[in-house]
């Protein structure tokens, strides 16, 4: 990274990677731009979901990273905007895959697809993004360290590992952490990120603001009605932040505890969870998953059952 003392090789190349926004029309710089964008996207997701501090993460940092992710998703969406986006609340952001002409160039730059690292509590973003950058390339994560970009070397890019490890298509969400406090902090994270209009503590948020203490987190209700309702009008926002709202209580409360997730390895485990998106509506999920995911939706049967069970349990929870 920094301080290695290596000489730069190509100044112009570096500019293309580090700095300026290129017009999509230049060929090779478009590829490097895309690569950089993807790298930044991966880094951002890692930052958001891998941070397990004992103290609350900085809200400013979280907001800035979220904005970065949103912007990238917007770009991706616009670039691939020939196909209409489906019920993308579940699929979230930039759902449509790139048209064929572009996918060729995407294939050249080995890319780092958007299935990012599975975090212990929060879920990964939808695989629709995976479909976006090359529906032909298998779901894989190839984290190109930023230092490679700087020193850069075209060869390194093209020869970076391409084969994804076999993705165990796990329908369950990433395991929640066994410790109660991380769970509560995840709960709080949800609460902060999701609409909390029904949670008891936050309901009186406005008048309470001047006397606000930490507030009782309460149980955030499932987002599906809200997302579905807001879909037509608020499409932009919900889709672009869809990956945030994917974080439902379902994942945390009811997922199987699977410690294999703790062996975090960006190049292996990400694909495992990519196929599972515990979104709010099981049906929508399946509809959207099918065209985009290159992974077989074979586990759909038990998958579907799990989700209906989850829905049911969720209703019970909310009802009580």
């Amino acid at each position: 990274m920094l301080g290695k003392g290596e000489k730069r090789k190509f100044d112009e190349h570096e500019d293309g990677l580090e700095g300026k926004i290129m017009s999509p029309s230049d060929g090779p710089s478009k590829v490097s731009y895309t690569l950089q964008r993807q790298t930044i996207f991966n880094i951002s997701l890692m930052k958001l979901y891998n941070h397990r501090p004992l103290t609350e993460p900085s809200l400013q940092k979280t907001v800035l990273i979220n904005n970065m992710l949103r912007r990238i998703q917007e770009e991706l969406k616009q670039e691939g905007s020939l196909r209409p986006v489906f019920t993308a609340a579940a699929a979230a952001a930039a759902a449509s895959p790139a048209p064929d002409s572009l996918s060729d160039s995407y294939r050249e730059a080995p890319p780092a697809l958007s299935a990012p690292a599975p975090p212990p509590p929060p879920p990964p973003p939808p695989p629709a993004l995976a479909g976006d950058l090359g529906s032909t390339t298998p779901l894989e994560v190839c984290l190109t360290p930023a230092s490679l970009l700087e020193d850069h070397d075209d060869d390194t890019f093209c020869t970076s590992p391409a084969a994804p490890p076999a993705a165990p298509a796990r329908p369950s969400a990433p395991a929640p952490p066994p410790e109660k406090d991380s769970f509560s902090s995840a709960l709080d994270e949800i609460e902060e990120l999701c609409p909390t209009s029904t949670s008891p503590g936050a309901a009186a948020a406005a008048p309470d603001s001047s006397r606000a203490g930490s507030g009782a987190p309460g149980v955030p209700r499932p987002d599906d009605p809200k997302l579905m309702d807001s879909l037509p009008g608020n499409f932009e926002i919900t889709t672009s932040t869809g990956f945030l709202t994917d974080l439902t209580l379902d994942d945390i409360l009811f997922a199987d505890i699977d410690t294999s997730m703790y062996d975090f390895d960006p190049c292996t485990s990400a694909s495992g969870t990519a196929s599972k998106m515990a979104p709010v509506s099981a049906d929508d999920l399946l509809k959207t998953l099918a065209p985009y995911s290159s992974q077989p939706v074979a586990p759909s049967q038990p998958f579907k059952m799990d989700l209906t069970e989850l829905d049911h349990i969720m209703e019970v929870l909310v009802g009580s």
């Binding site: 920094l2 580090e18 103290t55 609350e56 970065m68």
Partner: protein
Amino acid sequence: MKRGSHPGCRPALGCCQGPRRDQLQLLHSPRGSVVRWRGQSCDSQQDALLAGIGVLTQDTLWCFSQVKGTIEIGATEADIISTVEFNHTGELLATGDKGGRVVIFQREQESKNQVHRRGEYNVYSTFQSHEPEFDYLKSLEIEEKINKIRWLPQQNAAYFLLSTNDKTVKLWKVSERDKRPEGYNLKDEEGRLRDPATITTLRVPVLRPMDLMVEATPRRVFANAHTYHINSISVNSDYETYMSADDLRINLWNFEITNQSFNIVDIKPANMEELTEVITAAEFHPHHCNSFVYSSSKGTIRLCDMRASALCDRHSKFFEEPEDPSNRSFFSEIISSISDVKFSHSGRYIMTRDYLTVKVWDLNMENRPIETYQVHDYLRSKLCSLYENDCIFDKFECVWNGSDSVIMTGSYNNFFRMFDRNTKRDVTLEASRENSKPRAILKPRKVCVGGKRRKDEISVDSLDFSKKILHTAWHPSENIIAVAATNNLYIFQDKVN
């Protein structure tokens, strides 16, 4: 060497070139006194050179004065200094650290004997301001790190300051005790109660001198008003109120009332998903007790007037510079996030610090700053790496000097920068133990951006990004600066001739 007698000599400029040693030149100062270099060590040679240059160019020369804190080996994370602040007279200098401690230094009285040595700062008081807490509802720790210290103007013999961590603001009273009462009737000298039966006479207690003791007591605790992390506190010019700002809200307090505060700014959206901007810093106007500014993570500053409405969600003025399209990148928004905002002493200008620049704004002009200074533009091509290692989120502060003519801010590699607004000259200096000989003049540093690196220059790739100077302070009336470098506090003064 006689003036004018050798090539390269330009007597008109007062310059004379002697036999070359490391390309140093001998300078005659315009006042006619010769700066002797023959037979002196290289360092003082350089000092002499710098002194000469300073005199010629009328730049301020900064000298090392003191350094506080341990050398690397014994340093723990709790010793990392997180805030530095002079009081209104400059007599006291307070520092807060990550361990929740506050250390106050006091300037010693200048003695008539040593006119050339200005008063040094010595430890006056040390106390534990905040303790780590645990938020049971969220199962998260609340750090005891002191985010900000602000002094109140002195109104009696005691000193008052506000110190805050992420959640709680405290008002501390620091007072001296140099007398103690003796001769109580009901208590004996050790404080034990006397048996009333043994008391036969009545006496009046008298005050006797004792060794000076400085004690700090918490007079007020302002808690439970912030859901998010407090980033700023600012004392109002009415000296009765102050504000505390967190990521989404700003609260107005009265010093006397701890169980209630008024919310004056609230930018929390109804739906947290829609949150795209947070408050990063806030400050009251130095003279108008109704005005304050707050900065945001999107690079905007809002000036609000509390007379307009109780909730100042609508600004009176909105300062934003249009984005430069040639410099757009993925990181444009992040590097535009303002980390510090400071009013000038005059109240006419505000200065803001974002990741790569310092900007001075005129309160009367909202559409762009009047001055922009590049702090470390060579980092612009490194933003991706800096994003990866989180350095891009570092919050640098900035300060004005007493006359608002020079501004200062920190950088990496223990460098800090000063910009003279009048002469448009700037200098990069380093706070390091190597330069820490008493009254040694600080040598200007230079970062080379590419191509051939000259001697004494440092290349961008060699910069140490773990050594960052985030917190600096400038004495209110003199050229004395305090620079916090991780766990060390450096005090520099300008050269006294």
